[in-house]
Amino acid sequence: MSIRVQDAAFDMGAELNAFSQALADNGVKAGAIVSFCGVTRDVAEGDLDAMVIEHYPGMTEAALGDIRAQAMARFSLAGAMIVHRYGRLAAGEIIMMVATAAPHRADAFAGAEFLMDYLKSRAPFWKKEITTRGESWVDAKDTDEAALKRW
């Protein structure tokens, strides 16, 4: 499945192998596969106990599907996948991953960066940090919105 939104943890290695195998099974020739994984980190300057991720069921899947379709067309990708978790995650857990496949690496890298830039500012996810000092919603960064302008 190209787009998945789930609370369960996932194995990034298994996901990447499945992505690669699905391309091979469908006879898709891709000389380059690029992947990116986001990991829960301590953004606040407290001790992060957990990150809680909220999302907008329905709109999330639609937004990710739209972003993926744009990346596929723009970079002539042979394949692209997005997995994003929601719910409560401990520090160091994998939040999400994207993978792209293309005939050549430049498009695979660019496609993955495009997916990440759009996903950060256009897919309806919100992060809340739970630290020893309390809870706080993570603010969007101006740099995230600015990152879209390069595309």
Partner: protein, 81 residues
């Protein structure tokens, strides 16, 4: 019309979902009605520079029409990834 609130907007309004009767033609007009609904709504919707809106699950601007809308959602700028 179904209203949805997410993240700190949900916390400030005090609910993630409510149904309202409205004749508002645009999101902006709906926001004015909601601000008058309760202090919690007024607080949540006090600074629209940090509020984003989706009509039927599509991101739109505050001047967007809602005359055909089934669901309007308010939430902060997104922080996925």
């Amino acid at each position: 019309m179904e209203l949805r609130y997410f993240a700190w907007l949900r916390e400030r309004v005090g609910t993630g979902h409510e149904v309202v009767e409205t004749e508002a033609a645009t999101v902006s007009a709906l926001v004015e009605e909601l601000r008058a609904r309760s202090e919690a709504h007024a607080f949540a919707l006090s600074d629209l520079t940090s509020v984003r809106v989706a009509v039927d699950q599509q991101l739109v601007d505050f001047d967007a029409s809602i005359s055909e809308a089934r669901e309007v959602a308010f939430f902060p700028p997104m922080t996925g990834g």
